[in-house]
């Protein structure tokens, strides 16, 4: 392996986790991601992807998932190079959960989780009985761990937004991923489900020791529930580290153009308070 390039690369390549090396993505001539490089996104931690609309969050996530082709760069998982397309062995380690789950699908929750498990495992129509029972039991155990075992027999198109999101996460977890990628999983959820989903993601990430990357819009959620944050702007990384270090009044002013305060609460968490848009003079100087 090449030992030069930047110091961060050499020191972090072998650490357990996902590393991004000089990732470039273009749509036509426009560069969506420009030589993006980040140290390790460690195993067992939830990393939040933050940034304004069009900053490249979703593109980065889709590129990590292998769904958007990169024109340059490299990904490594635990020091091993990870292919940039979803074919073959990679699909067993990386799972992507898109923002919108399709509506009007006539599949039961348990069935849908089983399908996610069986889709590429080559189980033909005539698979043996024991395999089939093991599949179903495995699917059900994932549902129960997420606390939606009682929804197993419900049809997907009868679920509420939150329940459908949990079913989607179950469809992802049943594949025992090493890397779990979620695009705005909280966007359609009420407060209770937002906390439930984030709590569950944290627990499962630790328990399975996987790399979890979540695109989030709500910065408070990132501060409260994520171990790490990556702040993107215009296709580049503005900050990457502990959420409280990355999300600061300065970075929020730079990236979002808002005046913000971060106040520690009496219970030890940090809350972000937005006072309003930055004054015009500050905006102009950006």
């Amino acid at each position: 392996m090449n030992t030069m390039t930047t110091t961060t690369t050499t020191t972090t390549t072998r650490a357990p986790g996902l590393s991004i090396h000089d990732l470039t993505v273009r749509y036509g001539r426009r560069r969506i991601l420009d030589s993006l490089a980040a140290g390790v996104l460690p195993r067992g931690e939830v990393t939040a992807l933050l940034g304004p609309n069009g900053s490249g969050k979703s593109t980065l996530l889709r590129t990590l998932a292998g769904l958007t082709a990169a024109s340059g760069g490299r990904l490594t998982l635990d020091g091993e190079t990870l292919a940039l397309s979803p074919s073959g062995a990679r699909s067993h380690s990386v799972v992507y959960l898109p923002q919108a789950l399709p509506a009007g699908v006539r599949l039961q929750v348990l069935e849908s989780v089983r399908v996610a498990y069986c889709a590429t495992r080559g189980h033909g129509f005539g698979s043996t009985h024991t395999t089939r029972d093991a599949d179903i039991a495995h699917a059900l155990s994932v549902l129960q761990r997420l606390g939606i075992g009682d929804l197993a027999q419900r049809s997907l198109d009868q679920l509420s937004g939150g329940q459908r999101q949990l079913a989607g996460i179950a469809q992802a977890l049943v594949r025992d991923p090493q890397v779990l990628l979620l695009d705005e999983p909280l966007s359609a959820l009420d407060l209770n489900h937002q906390f439930h989903v984030m709590q569950m993601l944290r627990d499962e990430t630790r328990r399975r020791n996987m790399v979890t990357v979540v695109v989030l819009h709500d910065i408070n959620t990132a501060l409260r529930a994520c171990d790490r944050a990556m702040l993107l702007n215009r296709g580049g990384i503005v900050g990457f580290g502990r959420p409280a270090d990355v999300v600061t009044p300065d970075s929020l002013m730079d990236v979002f153009g808002v005046v913000a305060r971060i106040e520690p609460c009496s219970r030890g968490t940090h809350q972000i308070l937005i006072d309003g848009l930055a004054p015009q003079a500050d905006m102009a100087s950006r």
Partner: protein, 360 residues
């Protein structure tokens, strides 16, 4: 520290209850498929038995199982007229049903079917060309020319759909729009041919485009049966992948499913099957559109049940339509395409209104 996959405690009582419920559901679906099969058998028998000259069931069964025991005219009626007609109805119905089901899945559109996306219209154009121009294709027997030409054009239209799918980076909306454009284009071309056709040719042409089982023969039945068997077995091998596609294209792709290959392979199968069906019996609409919807309601979208269910329901529907085509106007054989269209349109509107209700 991840917990290994198999190291799980014994299932809880609640868990085993859910699993046995799921097994019951599977059994219920199989029972449902068997029930449809029985209905098909009944319909087939009734179809054999329906026609201008009355035939008692006993005579019919004797003709089928003991050819020598009946006189020549009965034998001809049963073996050359009634049976090909009824069996062709089943095969065409099954082909259109499973084609529609697969198209709706890979194009993610509940209105996709060979009829609505131009494969049927292209076949009609091919047949019109052959009838009006009195074509001869080297190496193809004269009796097969119209069917062969219809098949070529149906396959061409499917190839266009495939090409658009590839060119548009597999966006399903693009494929569906292109299909609709094909329908209009081929209808216009058929009208043009009708406009310039001689009176004789015009009659044959109109009769062809109406869709009729009356021209079925045993050779065609053999060809279609083989195509259906091969295509259906290939589809069943992809059943899990097709079901996974229903969880969303991106998700299926991230599962490692080669979406392009799956979609192209499926479209090719659909093209061959529906082109054959349409080229033998003419345009028969709505079966490929409606059978999958009924199958979805009865059996859900696990494609291991949904695909055979759509095929069986398509067969049942066309068999019933074939009976109706014989008894609707006593003494007159109404082209079955007219029957399916008349029955299909209200069902079609029902589907549209229901899916509208779901969106809003």
């Amino acid at each position: 520290m991840s917990i290994p996959l198999n190291a799980r405690p014994l299932p809880l009582p609640h868990e085993t209850a859910t699993i046995s419920q799921y097994r019951r559901l599977t059994r219920r679906r199989i029972a449902c498929l068997v029930a449809i099969l029985l209905l098909i058998a009944a319909s087939l028998l009734f179809d054999f038995n329906t026609g201008p000259s009355g035939l008692p069931v006993t005579t019919l069964l004797r003709t089928i199982f003991d050819r020598a025991s009946v006189d020549e005219p009965t034998r001809v009626i049963v073996w050359q007229i009634r049976m090909p007609y009824a069996v062709m109805a089943l095969l065409v119905g099954a082909s259109l049903g499973v084609s529609g089901a697969e198209m709706q899945t890979v194009l993610d559109n509940p209105l996709a079917s060979p009829y609505t996306l131009g494969v049927s219209a292209a076949a009609a154009f091919g047949a019109s060309l052959a009838i009006v121009l009195d074509l001869a294709i080297p190496g193809v027997p004269q009796g097969w020319i119209v069917s062969a030409n219809a098949f070529v054009f149906a396959l061409l239209s499917a190839a266009v759909l495939d090409a658009v799918a590839r060119w548009r980076g597999m966006s399903t909306a693009g494929v569906v729009l292109m299909g609709i454009a094909l329908v209009f284009a081929f209808h216009a071309l058929v009208s043009l041919i009708q406009f310039i056709a001689s009176a004789d040719a015009l009659q044959g042409l109109v009769f062809w485009t109406l869709g009729s089982l009356a021209r079925a023969n045993w050779q065609q039945i053999g060809v279609l049966a083989v195509a259906l068997a091969v295509s259906l077995s290939l589809s069943m091998r992809n059943a899990w992948k097709l079901t996974a596609l229903r969880l969303g294209e991106d998700r299926a792709a991230s599962f490692g499913i080669d979406i392009r290959r799956l979609r192209l392979g499926t479209l090719l199968r659909v093209a061959v099957l529906s082109a054959l069906a349409v080229s033998f019996v003419g345009t028969i609409g709505f079966i490929g559109l409606i059978a999958p919807h009924i199958a979805r309601t009865l059996l859900g979208e696990d494609h291991r049940f949904y695909l055979p269910g759509s095929a069986l329901l398509g067969a049942l529907m066309l068999s019933l339509a074939s009976i109706a085509s014989k008894i609707l106007i006593p003494g007159v054989l109404v082209p079955v395409g007219i029957v399916t269209a008349l029955v299909g349109i209200p069902l079609f509107l029902g589907i549209v209104l229901r899916s509208q209700g779901r969106v809003s």
